[in-house]
Subunit: 170 residues, 2 copies
Amino acid sequence: MAVAKTAGAGLAKRKRPARELPQAPADAIQLGDLAEFLGYSLKRAQLRIFDDFIGCVAPLQLTPAQFSVLMLVETNPGRNQTEIASTLGILRPNFVALLDELESRDLCVRVRSSNDRRSHILRLTEKGRAVLVRARKLIETRHEARLKELLGAENRELLLAMLGKIAREF
Amino acid sequence: MAVAKTAGAGLAKRKRPARELPQAPADAIQLGDLAEFLGYSLKRAQLRIFDDFIGCVAPLQLTPAQFSVLMLVETNPGRNQTEIASTLGILRPNFVALLDELESRDLCVRVRSSNDRRSHILRLTEKGRAVLVRARKLIETRHEARLKELLGAENRELLLAMLGKIAREF
């Protein structure tokens, strides 16, 4: 399939000129075959993207996981803690700590369910909704906009499609 | 750029028929706009890939981070602990724990550097080299081969190129 090859070439062409021949010092550590493993490359890209995300929303002090929870609670009001945690793949002890933090900052509340007294419904507070609006604006106009610029809009869509395919079907 | 779109269409076409119209239960949690954020999709794909990686090398009991360290030490014999850790972006306390584990399993040794008594050179043991050969074979023939089948070889290359671009240039 020559198509993807051409898209790849287009991607390479958009590299900043200064990076085209990286002047690695002679004694730099060689990645060798490690760079060919998808897991390694995914993790490195994910760490870089999370760093940038955290920097972009620094005025609001939100981690990517906290942002995901606020987004999901807003989209799914009235759902319980276990449903949100399992959708995001966050382990229970980590999720409890995360909610404690969001609740202490008045961004989200846990309300005991009237159907099942053992389960907790999650709701955004007024402040939580306002913080989420600001966070989305910062992320969309800075973080995601720069990613789109780096990759190109169509390659960004292709990347999203491939990542979704891996998460759902691999 | 119509090129990437065509590649994307090719990708969609390879979806398993059963997944084309996912029968989500009516009360399933909706991801909503969250699925459009690259950071979220990257993290989900990375978690899935790490899970599969761990399953593939289960007979050898290696985590992705341990595998990366063994790979890097083999490619760069005689380099010190700090250089390997910083190349992989692993924090010092985590790296020390990881090396303790590899050393206790006789896969890797720390040798005090003759040039700088405070630094430790890393070397694979005989057993470490043998385990790495077996691990690479398992990962290449199972994990990476199935990823290539899922995405297509050329889309896999394009994915690697985009992830590398993000890690280096974003």
